[in-house]
Amino acid sequence: MPNKLKELLKNRAVDISISFVLGIGVFFFWLEGFPQAMSYQEQYQLFLWTGDYFAESMRLPGGLARYVGEFLTQFYYVEWLGALVLAFVFVAFHAVASLCLRQALKGYAASVALIPVVLLLMMMGDECVLLSYPVALIVAMAVALILGKANRLVDLAVVPLLFWLVGPAVWLYVALRGAVLGVKKYGWLALPALYLFLIQELSYHFLLQQWSLAEALLGMNYMRFPEYDRWQIVYVPAAIAALVWVSKAIVVKETKMVMSLVLCCAICVGGWFAISNAYDKGKYELIKQDYLIRNERWNDIVANAERYTVPVNFWSESVNLALAMNHDLANRQFSFFQSGVDALLMPMMRDLTSNLPTMEAFFRLGLVNESMRYAFDLQESIPNGKKSGRLTKRIVECCIINGKYDVARKHINLLKKSLFYSEWAKDAESYLGNEAWINAHPQWGKLRQLRYKDDFLFYYGEKDKILGNLFINNTDNKMALEYFMGELLLRGDIQMFQQGLGWAQQYGGYASMPAGYQDAMRCIQAGGEVFDNRYSDYAKRMKHMMDPRMNIEEESVH
């Protein structure tokens, strides 16, 4: 081993150990703790390996950070790879932050640099924060480190360039340069800050005509939602800048390893509590249900619901879909929280997440057009205008089932330019126009049998009738039967439910009357007041128990 390397390892043993442990910790944090967060991020972008995609990214300030962030995010498609990417990002972030602090804090720098790492990890608990944000901060710090004490005149070129590459994270660069060069040598710190502000103002007035001032100043690529609280992006760079400036006043003569480790442990323990609170349990449980649906892990969804409940529609729909896929909806629907009359299928909500379970349920029921409609609108609800690999795939599937091959091909061509959807797209392309293949496909062929062939208008208020007709259309469609009966129970349409029991007996494939239907019948026969009866509990919650037909009004928890 060369002597220089030996010396480096000896001098930086603590730093390297901290980075190594941090990397491992972050890797398992995402892989074991929050794989659903990676799935969530990945499904709202579609990185394309084309020059146009790069050019489009570079059109706006922060373009390089956006491009690199999206490039890295695509690897979330493979969970362990995504976790590895995140581990590298955090290690890189820690390393550059540590180097920024090293001159003043010497051997304590690596430990203190964990503070911004913790803050960053907390911020990424907000699902709206994109990976371009840490990428931008890393680049800003790295450039400041590379330039070191270079003449301040270079900033005349570097500041605007860096602004275009990484966006407003360039403010961190300015603060770090000020700290390195010293206030006197760098001129007033106000001068470069003024220069940067001027650049942002000019960009806003002349180049960013279609963007707001807040976006020009605080970034347009760090968060998914344009109107989101952008000021939170200031916390991490402000913390780094503050640490660097404050550390300049502290003179560390020598590093005591024990002290360094104590500091490290203290930050880790404090950080752990802070991070635990930054990841909203309910939100991530919902994201997890969607992640499990995406991976068709029906048993895990039910098992998850046995441990925890988030009392909203999204939760009910996810669990009901999983039960139906296990042919168990008739037995256990009311064993789990039912949010109301929308607990099986939700009306269109104009956001990027709420309708995912409904889209998946529509597809599997054979309501192919409805699934495609929801997929389209979900995709168009992605606020930064990105396409989605997952939703585009669904649109392709719907088009193939409906025989709309031109539109399918258009979307397939898009997927072919991605890394992880390309193979699937090429396979799907081989089906275009080949009716025999499509009919023989295990899912598409089956859905061709189940779907409606006649055109009539889908009216959400009559979804029970639509489900009933869907079942009549093909009595092999047991999922439609279970959804139909479940819908009647949710609405409290007892008369139709009792009539439907005949269908359930004839076509349901049950050995005996499903436990859920037995519960419901006991409740109906007893006029609603039944002890230890799940359906009765639901009906009471819906507050319409005394209605002889238990005609429950729409009262849903969205």
């Binding site: 279609q210 707001s212 389209f376 609800s381 606020p383 031109d406 258009k410 208008l457």
Partner: protein, 488 residues
């Protein structure tokens, strides 16, 4: 360093010479070349953007195209697609005004050249001097506007820019830019959503209007300027949409209520008339070229959406006095929907007063989603109508508008793939004969349209470039005061 220079030089040479080969021993193919877009026999105006095209079969190695003018001039291009320079192309079209441009296409495939039969484009004697087009770009979704924006495109080049994009007014859905005969200084844009309203620009002043009053049930919708610029005809619609379960249709848009009125743009007053605000459905008002007549469509009341196939719109007209702002005494029915057993919508009179173009579909008021929807043309002098067979296709044609000299019209169609609407332009002569329309030219059109996931809505010509202070508009929309219109 020297090595790097040599490497860069060699790479540049390779790129430049990737498809510069001499066409030799070409095998003659006795058919027209399959090109995208289909520009064979189309009629184009002088000065239109270069009519670039691709060979439809993607498996070719190179394409060699020679364009010769019947009155002189020649262009020779070679590459992955036919890509003409803007200036050279303009010169060629100018040289051949009223003549033809003949294209000789050779393609290199599997190492062999093949030469196809020549095809022509006709250069019209009618000029198209408008600056370009305005249109809305929106993904063909269902209920979500998404990455929506109103754009303008210079039709003499490939330059496109947003007039206003949703990023400037987050969360707002915007309707189309409605100009007074293509004027960039008189236009309006309706916005829906929490910050909805009407951006009205007139004579250099811009304001935000709230067009809903106690006497009218909704905000103004489909609008059309009076030629004087003093009035705007508008419908007020309660627009809904439902979605089909089957395979052939996607969406049905319908109004559960609609009326017609006129806004006095000078005083921000609504001019109402009981005859235009009945229980029936009145919509799509437009002024005639001289402003003395108001055309509109009306359907008899039926229960919507239950009886959606019964909603069939007739074309009617009523007089309008510009001086007094009063409607005429008589309403005439020009086309009776019951007699025709069809629905007439989107009337658009030409600005020279000769023609009235409209949509015909089986039923309903939104032909954009009706595959059978076609364009028809009425001769206003004789009242005779005919389907524009030379323009219509087996898919949707709709959203048409006239150039300011009324010799060209633009429309959108889904003839490409059945879902994404594209913009087509056609020429019309003194006798009302239209030419084969051409798809709005783009650089590398196959790639462009394949990668374009937006539909083009409501294309219209604009005489000059629309200049708008987007930041001010954004501020007006998101935070500005609305001027409430009142009923006269």
């Amino acid at each position: 360093m020297k090595f790097l220079f040599l490497l860069a030089f060699s790479l540049s040479l390779c790129l430049l010479s990737s498809c510069t080969r001499k066409v030799e021993n070409a095998q003659l193919v006795d058919k027209l070349p399959g090109i995208y877009p289909d520009y064979t026999d189309v009629t184009i105006p002088v000065g239109i953007a270069p009519m670039d095209f691709n060979f439809a079969d993607e498996g070719i190695e190179c394409m060699d195209v020679v364009a010769r003018g019947s009155k002189g001039g020649e262009l020779h291009v070679q590459g992955d697609y036919a890509d003409f320079g803007v200036d050279e192309w303009h010169e060629l079209t100018m040289q051949n005004e009223g003549g033809d441009i003949v294209f000789t296409v050779c393609v290199l495939k599997d190492g062999k050249w093949m030469k196809y039969k020549d095809f022509k484009m006709h250069v019209s004697k009618y000029r198209l001097d408008d600056y370009g087009l305005t249109y809305r770009r929106i993904a063909p979704g269902y209920e979500v506007g998404g990455n929506i924006g109103i754009y303008q495109r210079d039709i003499h080049s490939f330059d496109e820019e947003a007039i206003i994009h949703v990023s400037a007014v987050p969360g707002q859905c915007m309707n189309c830019h409605t100009a007074n005969r293509g004027s960039a200084s008189q236009f309006l844009i309706h916005l829906r959503g929490g910050k909805g309203g009407t951006i009205l620009r007139r004579d250099g002043k811009q304001m935000m209007l709230c067009t809903k009053t106690d006497s009218t049930k909704a905000n103004c919708g489909y609008s059309y300027w009076h030629p004087s610029g003093n009035y705007i005809a508008s419908s007020i619609n309660s627009i809904h949409q439902l979605f089909y379960t089957g395979n052939e249709r996607r969406i049905e848009v319908f109004d559960t209520m609609s009326d017609v009125l006129v806004i006095d743009a000078r005083t921000n007053e609504l001019i109402l008339d009981d005859r235009l605000q009945t229980d029936d459905y009145e919509s799509y008002p437009v002024f005639s070229h001289d402003g003395k007549t108001l055309y509109y469509c009306t359907a008899k009341y039926c229960v919507l959406p239950a009886e959606y196939e019964k909603a069939k719109y007739s074309l009617c007209k009523i007089g309008f006095d510009e001086k007094t702002g009063c409607y005429g005494a008589v309403i005439d029915t020009l086309i009776n929907a019951e007699e025709k057993n069809a629905s007439i919508t989107f009337p658009r009179p030409s600005y020279d007063g000769r023609w009235l173009m409209y949509n015909v579909s089986d039923f309903g008021n939104f032909p954009v989603n009706h595959k059978e929807a076609d364009l028809w043309l009425m001769n206003l002098a004789t009242g005779e109508s005919r389907a524009l067979a030379e323009v219509n296709s087996g898919d949707v044609e709709s959203f048409h508008n006239w150039s300011t000299d009324s010799h060209w019209f633009v429309f959108s169609s889904r003839r490409g793939d059945g879902m994404y609407t594209r913009v087509y332009i056609s020429c019309i002569d003194e006798n009302g004969k239209a030419t084969k329309p051409f798809l709005l030219p783009q650089r590398n059109p196959k790639k462009f349209y394949d990668e374009m996931f937006d539909s083009y809505n409501c294309p219209d010509f604009t005489k000059e470039k629309v200049e708008i202070d987007t930041h001010q508009t954004s501020h007006d929309v998101m935070e500005g005061e609305r001027i409430n219109v009142r009923v006269r």
